[in-house]
Symmetry: C2
């Protein structure tokens, strides 16, 4: 049976034909690599996903993490899956050889990760968080911190978390109240005692590893004993669940305690916690309350360090959303090909046998929409992942800066578009299954529930919109947007040179021009409140333009071929241009007239 | 605390100001009624919803129906809720006094039911299914069948189900395989023995009532022993869970047996069953296998009888979807008014306290969208419910026929639009709650899951589309569509006479004209397969036009007022015209060019 996780055919088309990732091997860093090693990495990921992650996908949903008063209990399949992932060396896939890594390009590692996300996103969260955590330490930690925390994470001995939100401060990180009091120096860096509550901590407490490395945002009080207001007062701390010696030896428990488990709509296999730091009720390291933490980087630069990893984390969220939509699409396709129901309209002879539902146009409409959403999202996610490689491999400083600007610009789209449209694909996958899709016997309803987290976490949809319109498109004095426009125009030029895709190229060009113009006008208006009040339709219009570009690129990359796969790509591209791209006109029109309906809606009028 | 089920202010505006339901009291049937009795009925519904239905909403989701090998176990709160509803006389609210009814207009009873749906749609399903069942028997049953089955249902002693689908036949009812063999005559009508499986039976097995009255579609074999193909061979049968004497005495179990409980994404409090008829393994009435059933109406006319109630059932589904979206909106509004987070963009001083999130434009955008969806859907649902009254009260035969045509036409919209857009409102309600909305501590994620059923059951979304474009708009040689257009035009004329709403009236007029023209062209094309291949965008475009009309009507009904409520209605109308109505242009354009992208997508290309 063909795997229903991802289409390997599509993945290979995107990586090798469309993105030409083999060209990355011209760089010395990837000189040992080639299509063979890339394929082997994909094989490994697919195998681990199939053998260790997929089998407990539904069980982990049914049997949620529980706290028995002493420890968090997870189903027994999660540990071996995480260990299998670590043992295959995948935690360090993109890292240097001398860190035990494989020096795989980020884009190839991302393609591999998509298998894990598709198989079991909740179990994948444990290694993914750990990789993000370790990467941050590699970039900002001292050698001693890397030795004591990052290396054991990369070996899978420790797992990691990111502790940003608090119950009263989610999107508004400047309002965090966790306090870090200086507590002397140590081999692991300046030491502090932390007190406060952290909310929504995925992987926050469990027994899967020797310890858990929490990366915690907190504020150091000023001379007046008060916490500095706003984001500038935030520092970053390593707060391990257990005390850890400089040589990595794990000791007694630190003063970090589970205060509650969140019971979620989906993503249930990932234990999500409220953590209490510094309560001193159960654990009192060195005899007193206060969670011991080691500062990473300079005081007040915690948020910058955390956001250093944000592009990759957000592209990762988008990729996860993509994978959840993608596997649901493949399940729906499989169901539609095998489930008999009804007859074609033109030949409604009830004495004839029923036909597979894929023969009904409305089912094909739903499948084609899913295909356009999920394959488009995968293409765009991998495009952005390759930008990470391009930027890090660029030998020219200015080129690296430009690639960084472009990546920054596209990151809100990479995060939000799949979170919105691959969720829509999940919804359609349920609909294709009819009543069966609404039951927990089929996976599609769980895939929907799991994916519903993605527009919320790692910067909610509306936050991505503010980031894109308020900061990213204006970055470099408009250079970022110009870089994007230049890439779109290059594809348009290519499209206009064909007889088949010139209309689509023109249609895309018209929207790009309006998008660029409205961006300029909005920023020229000088009223940030009014400008940003329609940021979300702006984000969504931008996203559709970017995805239309991605589809035009895929169509052009297959335009000289006539196999079924290529014709399917072209049909999906045509569908996206005919059924989806025109939707942006509504958003562009309201942005152009600076529609004030939302802004003038008063509280009392609801 | 204000109830978060529905806005009574809105309900009263719609009923009394917009629909003028008091005018129905001029009809002799409702002569005893007036605003006072209508209000009392709404009060009763709200009280029962609040006291008996809402409190176990989340518990019924957590503790699903279970089969212990002997009986289906429901949580203990469901029985008293159903009894409380019955004891208040609500099962017969719209029926004649001599049936123990209240002779309430259908539209007022519907408004009352919306409270029950909002409070606990899964528990409400038990009485709702019973009312539909009893209504069908009142219309098509013999006096003896009514006496033995319908009257006990209306008293709440028996509960009812509808048994249509089978595991291999959902949307394609012509393919049912349940067999009914003649078994003589009886006081309760022609008797049969039924064998077969019925799937998706809500309320299919439980101990809430003395018995359960199953209304079952089955086929009577021909002389050759084979079942006739297609829908024309379908007959309708009463198959009680227990044998019932003509005097209503409940006897031994009939040969109807639970074969499985479906575990659903939501709607979990409603036990949903696979039922086996005629297996003869546990129950053998009169000593042999075969479920005893009594035919209702003539042989071969079962589907027509079942569909007799379909308009009301489908408007009921739409109303339920509306209520689920509506209460979620009120919860999101309440949350947004009380949850502090962040600061306005224009005054980002981190030393100032955080503000309630309703002050952020993007949150207001989400609330305004929800308001436009749910209040629009409630208005449209009640409009259609009033058409049921208007048609049944019409003294002129031709007027009744015309009202029936209009109601038939609008029913697919009444079912599908709220199922799609109030579900979208549920999604936004989750988003407003942020991470909290993703947890089961708040109701919004359950409201989403419950509502996700509505685009599937009682005729899936795509089936509604085929019904609308394939049959309804062509009914009466185009008369149905002309009747709708005339009503829309009347509102447009009113709008054009104002300075405030003339643009909106024109915008609506332009879309209506295109919709009418494209309907004519599609039907003139003569190729039903091609015509219907884009039926779903047609349904969705039609729905948005109908809802824009509803919003224009609400705006005009408040246009001479300047209170917050009225200004809110006007703002929501403006938002719908600016942000939603233009979306139909994409669908209209693809219908006008008879877009063949879906039709030409081949199976192998996926």
């Amino acid at each position: 049976m063909e795997s229903l996780l991802l289409s390997r055919r599509d993945l290979e088309f995107l990586l090798y034909d469309w993105l030409d990732v083999e060209a990355l091997c011209h760089a010395p860093r990837h000189a040992d690599h080639g299509r063979e090693t890339f394929d082997a990495a994909l094989d490994t990921c697919e195998r681990i996903a199939t053998d260790l992650f997929a089998p407990h996908y539904q069980k982990a949903d049914r049997e949620e993490p529980r706290f028995d008063g002493t420890a968090v209990e997870l189903i027994e399949e999660i540990g071996p899956a995480v260990r299998g992932f670590a043992d295959a060396g995948l935690l360090a896939a993109t890292l240097d050889y001398d860190m035990g890594g494989m020096q795989l390009p980020h884009v190839v590692a991302s393609a591999g990760m998509a298998y894990l996300y598709a198989a079991n996103v909740a179990t994948a969260a444990y290694p993914v968080l750990t990789m993000g955590n370790a990467s941050l330490l590699l970039a900002h930690g001292t050698p001693a911190q890397i030795e004591a925390f990052a290396l054991p994470e990369l070996q899978g001995r420790f797992l990691g978390t990111m502790c940003l939100s608090e119950p009263q401060a989610g999107s508004s990180l400047g309002d965090i109240q966790t306090r870090a009091e200086p507590d002397g120096e140590s081999l692991l860096g300046p030491r502090y005692r932390l007190t406060g509550s952290k909310m929504w901590i995925s992987g926050g407490d469990h027994e899967l590893a020797d310890t858990i490395v929490h990366l915690v945002l907190a504020k150091v009080p000023g001379a007046d004993g008060k916490l500095p207001p706003g984001t500038r007062g935030i520092s970053l701390f390593i707060v391990p669940r257990h005390l850890v010696d400089a040589d990595g030896t794990v000791g007694a428990r630190n003063d970090v305690q589970l205060a509650g488990i969140n019971h979620k709509m989906g993503y249930r296999g990932t234990v999500n916690c409220l953590l209490a730091f510094g309560e001193g009720t159960r654990f009192r390291p060195e005899g007193r309350a206060g969670a011991i933490g080691y500062r990473v980087g300079a005081e007040g630069e915690g948020l910058a360090a955390m956001f250093h990893m944000m592009n990759e984390a957000r592209i990762g969220v988008g990729l996860g959303a993509t994978a959840l939509g993608y596997t649901a699409y493949l399940h729906a396709l499989d169901y539609a090909r095998t489930r008999p129901q009804g007859r074609p309209l033109a030949e409604r002879d009830p004495s004839q046998p029923q036909v597979p539902i894929i023969r009904h146009p409305d089912v094909r409409r739903m499948l084609l929409a899913q295909k356009a959403y999920v394959e488009g999202a995968l293409a765009f996610s991998l495009y952005c992942a390759k930008l990470v490689d391009d930027a890090s491999l660029a030998t020219d400083d200015d080129e690296r800066r430009r690639l960084g600007l472009l990546l920054d610009l596209l990151t809100p789209i990479a995060k939000s578009w799949p979170s919105q449209w691959c969720l829509a694909a999940n919804d359609l996958a349920i609909q294709v299954h009819g009543g069966y899709g609404y039951t927990r016997e089929y996976k599609v309803e769980q895939l929907y529930r799991d994916n519903r987290l993605n527009p919320i976490h790692e910067g909610a949809h509306g936050i991505q919109a503010l980031d894109l319109l308020g900061r990213k498109v204006a970055a470099g004095g408009g250079e970022a947007l110009a870089l994007f426009a230049a890439r779109v125009e290059a594809t348009m030029v290519e499209g206009r040179a064909t007889s088949t895709w010139c209309d689509e190229a023109d249609a895309l060009g018209a929207r790009l021009a309006r998008l660029v113009a409205v961006t300029r006008d909005l920023h020229a208006s000088g009223d940030p409140g009014a400008m940003l009040s329609n940021a979300t339709p702006y984000l969504e219009a931008f996203g559709h333009v970017a995805l239309a570009w991605t589809w035009l690129g895929q169509a052009l990359a297959t335009s000289d071929r006539d196999d079924d796969f290529s014709r399917g790509k072209q049909q999906a591209a045509r569908w996206f241009f005919g059924w989806e791209l025109p939707k942006v006109d509504v958003a562009l029109a309201l942005l152009e007239r600076n529609d004030g309906t939302v802004l003038s809606m008063q509280e009392a009028m609801f």
